[in-house]
C-alpha cells in the first residue's frame, strides 16, 4: 500500500504521465464506442472488415460521406481507424496477458526450484532470445497463416522469454527472505508458498511494467501488418492501412500531397496510441526502477 501511495504521489507530480493517461483513456473510449462512432453498414457480418465504396484503386480525398476520405481500394479510412483502435487494444491486451501467464509460470518455476529446472527453462529462453524478434515473428506469422490470431501468437512467442527472465530474477531475490523460510518451516506446500507468499510480493511492479509494453506490442503488430503479413486484406488494422497507402506517397503532378490523408491519418493514430503508453511509462519506469526509487 505504501508503494501504491508513493506511486500515485509521483504520478500526479508529473504532467507528462497525466497527458499519457488522458490519451489512453480517449483511445479506450473510442474503442468502447466504436459501434456508435462508426456504425457497421446494414447486412455486413463481420464488423472488423472495413466497408468499401467501389473497387477503384485511387484514394479519394475527405468528403461528406467519408470524412477521412478513402484509401487504396476505396476502404473508408474513418471506419478503419476507429475499429482499428479495437484491434490495437485486443492485440495489446491479449499478448500482454498471455506473456504474463507464461512468464509467471515458467519464471516462478525456474526461480523457485532452481537447479536443473532453472537451467532448462533459462536455456530455452536463450534460444528464443537468439533471434532478432521481428524476424522470428515474421517466420511464425507466415507459418500460421494470415489472421489476427497469428500476429498475436507470433508476438507472444517472441516476447515471453524476457518476461520469464525478469520474473525469475525477482523470485530468486524473494526466495531467500525470512518469511518464506518461515512458511516452509511450518510445512506449507510449494504451490502455496509460490501463490500466497512469493507472487503477491513480486508481481505488482511486473504487472505495471508489462501493461506499459502494450504500446510497443501494438507497434510490432502494426509493423507486421504493414509488411503485408498477418491480417487478411480489409481487416480494420492501422498497420495495414499504411500498407494500403504506401503506393500513394507521390501525389498528382499538380498536387504533390494529393493523397496525404491516406498515409497521415492512420499513422497519427498509431503514433498517439504508442506515445500515450510511452508517456505514462516514462515516469512510472523511473519510479519503479529499484535503483532509482526513493531518491
Amino acid at each position: 500500500m505504501k508503494n501504491l501511495r508513493f506511486l500515485l504521489f509521483h504520478f500526479k507530480k508529473n504532467p507528462l504521465s497525466v497527458i499519457g493517461l488522458v490519451i489512453i483513456v480517449i483511445f479506450a473510449i473510442i474503442a468502447a464506442l466504436a459501434p456508435v462512432i462508426a456504425p457497421t453498414p446494414e447486412g455486413q457480418f463481420n464488423p472488423y472488415m472495413i466497408p468499401r465504396d467501389g473497387y477503384g484503386s485511387t484514394p479519394q480525398p475527405p468528403s461528406d460521406t467519408h470524412i477521412f476520405g478513402t484509401t487504396q481500394g476505396q476502404y473508408d479510412i474513418f471506419y478503419g481507424v476507429i475499429w482499428g483502435t479495437r484491434t490495437a487494444f485486443q492485440v495489446g491486451l491479449v499478448v500482454i496477458g498471455a506473456v504474463l501467464v507464461i512468464g509467471i509460470i515458467l519464471g516462478s518455476l525456474a526461480g523457485y526450484f532452481g537447479g536443473i529446472i532453472d537451467e532448462i527453462i533459462m536455456r530455452i529462453t536463450d534460444i528464443f532470445l537468439a533471434f532478432p524478434p521481428l524476424i522470428l515473428a515474421m517466420a511464425v506469422t507466415i507459418a500460421l497463416g494470415a489472421s489476427i490470431e497469428s500476429i498475436i501468437i507470433a508476438i507472444t512467442v517472441v516476447s515471453w522469454p524476457s518476461y520469464a527472465r525478469v520474473i525469475r530474477g525477482d523470485i530468486l531475490a524473494i526466495r531467500e527472505e525470512d518469511y518464506i523460510e518461515a512458511s516452509r518451516g511450518v510445512g506449507a506446500s510449494h504451490l502455496r508458498i509460490i501463490l500466497k507468499h512469493i507472487l503477491p510480493n513480486s508481481i505488482y511492479p511486473i504487472f505495471i511494467m508489462a501493461s506499459l509494453d502494450i504500446g510497443s506490442v501494438v507497434l510490432t503488430a502494426a509493423a507486421l501488418s504493414f509488411l503485408g503479413l498477418g491480417v487478411p486484406e480489409g481487416y480494420a488494422d492501422w498497420g495495414q492501412m499504411i500498407n494500403f497507402a504506401r503506393n500513394w506517397i507521390v501525389g498528382t503532378p499538380t498536387n504533390t500531397f494529393a493523397y496525404w490523408h491516406a498515409i497521415t491519418i492512420p499513422g497519427l493514430f498509431i503514433f498517439f496510441f504508442v506515445m500515450g503508453w510511452n508517456l505514462l511509462g516514462d515516469s512510472l519506469r523511473d519510479i519503479l526502477d529499484p535503483r532509482l526509487a526513493r531518491r
Binding site: 534460444i127 524476424i135 500460421l144 509488411l227 503479413l229 506517397i249 504533390t256 500531397f257 492512420p266 499513422g267
Partner: protein
C-alpha cells in the same frame, strides 16, 4: 577465473544454444506442408519440376527426428535451399544482398551509437535544463514513431514534394547501368566504396543520395533508445564519489563529464549492444521494404509475403547465428576489459 577458461566455457555453452536455434527453426518448418518444405533441399532450378522426387529423396514423410538430421546435414554443407523469389540458392542470395545492408549499417550504426551517447551526455549534464527537456521530449516522440510510417512521410516530402531530391532504391538507373558495365570493377559491392576505388564520383554521390533517407529512418528510433539509456546511466555516474573527487580537486567541468563520468556511464550502452544489433536487423527489414532498397531486409520481406519458406527460415537461421556470435563477442570484450565480470564465475 582466468580469461582463457572463461572463453572456453562460453564457447562450450554456444553448442546447446546453436543446437536449440536449429531445433526451433526446424520446428517452425514442420508447420508447412511437405511440398513447401522440399524447397529447403533444392540446389538447382531444374529440380523444381520434380518436387515429389525431392520429398522421396530426403524422406520428408519420414519420422520427424530423421528429417531433422537430414536437414542439419544439409545446413552443415552450406545448403539452405532454393529462394524461388530471386531465383538463386538461399546461400547465394544472402551473400548477394549482404553488401547493400552492410552499406546501410556502416552509415547508421555510428550515427546511432555516437549520436545517442552524445545526446544522452548533454541531457544528463544539463539535467532539467532546456537541452534535457528538448532531448527527452524528442526521445519520447522518436521512440513512439512507427518506423514504417516515418519513412513513408520522409519519402512523401523529399521524394514527392522536392521532386526526387532523395529517391528510393540503391542507385538511379543511369548509375546502376554504369556500375554493372565492364569498365567498372566491383571490388566490394558496396557502391560508395567501389565508386571511390573506381574514381567515379558520380556513383559515390548517387549512392550517398539514396542512403540519406534510409539512414535517417533507421537511426531515429534507435538514437532515442540509446539516448535514454545514456542519460539515466550518466545521471547515476554523476552522483558517484569519483565524480565528486574529480570536482573537488578542481578539474574543469568538461573534463569531469567527458572523462570521469562518461567513460563509466558507457558500460550499460556496451552491454545492450547485442540488443542494438537486433534492433538494427529489425529496422533494416522495415526500412529496406519502405525504400525498395534491395538488401537482406528487402529480400526477407519479399520472401515472407510470397511464402518462400526456405528463404525466410534461412534468413532467420542466418540472423540468429549472427546474433548469438555478436553477443558472444560483446561478452568476451566485456570480460576482457572489466575483470569483475569473470570474478563472479561466469554470466548470469
Amino acid at each position: 577465473m582466468e580469461f582463457r577458461s572463461y572463453l572456453i566455457r562460453r564457447l562450450f555453452l554456444l553448442i546447446p544454444v546453436l543446437l536449440g536455434v536449429s531445433i526451433l527453426i526446424f520446428g517452425l518448418l514442420q508447420l508447412f506442408p511437405p511440398y513447401q518444405r522440399a524447397m529447403l533441399y533444392v540446389t538447382d532450378p531444374r529440380q523444381l519440376s520434380n518436387i515429389d522426387e525431392i520429398i522421396e529423396l530426403y524422406g520428408l514423410n519420414a519420422p520427424v527426428w530423421q528429417q531433422y538430421f537430414t536437414w542439419l546435414g544439409q545446413v552443415f554443407q552450406g545448403n539452405l535451399g532454393w529462394s524461388k523469389v530471386v531465383g538463386m540458392s538461399v546461400t547465394d542470395a544472402i551473400f548477394n544482398f549482404l553488401p547493400a545492408t552492410l552499406e546501410l549499417a556502416i552509415f547508421s550504426t555510428p550515427i546511432i551509437i555516437l549520436g545517442g551517447i552524445w545526446l544522452g551526455t548533454k541531457a544528463a549534464a544539463h539535467k532539467d535544463g532546456l537541452i534535457d527537456h528538448t532531448t527527452r521530449a524528442g526521445a519520447i516522440v522518436g521512440w513512439s514513431l512507427p518506423t514504417f510510417w516515418f519513412g513513408l512521410v520522409l519519402l512523401m516530402i523529399f521524394y514527392g514534394y522536392f521532386r526526387g531530391l532523395f529517391p528510393p532504391e540503391r542507385l538511379s538507373t543511369a548509375m546502376s547501368v554504369l556500375v554493372n558495365s565492364a569498365s567498372f570493377t566491383r571490388y566490394t559491392h558496396l557502391n560508395f566504396i567501389d565508386g571511390i576505388l573506381n574514381w567515379e564520383w558520380r556513383v559515390v554521390f548517387d549512392s550517398l543520395r539514396h542512403l540519406v533517407l534510409p539512414v535517417i529512418t533507421l537511426s531515429v528510433v534507435n538514437i532515442a533508445f540509446i539516448m535514454r539509456l545514456m542519460r539515466s546511466s550518466m545521471l547515476e555516474s554523476l552522483g558517484r564519489g569519483y565524480v565528486l573527487t574529480a570536482r573537488a580537486k578542481g578539474l574543469p567541468e568538461k573534463q569531469v563529464i567527458n572523462k570521469h563520468a562518461r567513460r563509466n556511464a558507457m558500460i550499460p550502452v556496451l552491454t545492450v549492444s547485442g540488443y542494438i544489433f537486433a534492433a538494427i536487423v529489425n529496422g533494416v527489414v522495415i526500412t529496406e521494404s519502405i525504400f525498395n532498397y534491395k538488401g537482406l531486409g528487402w529480400w526477407a520481406w519479399r520472401t515472407a509475403i510470397q511464402l518462400d519458406v526456405s528463404s525466410i527460415l534461412g534468413f532467420a537461421l542466418f540472423s540468429g547465428v549472427l546474433f548469438v556470435l555478436t553477443n558472444l563477442v560483446v561478452d568476451l570484450l566485456y570480460a576482457k576489459f572489466d575483470p569483475r565480470v569473470r570474478l563472479g564465475g561466469g554470466v548470469k
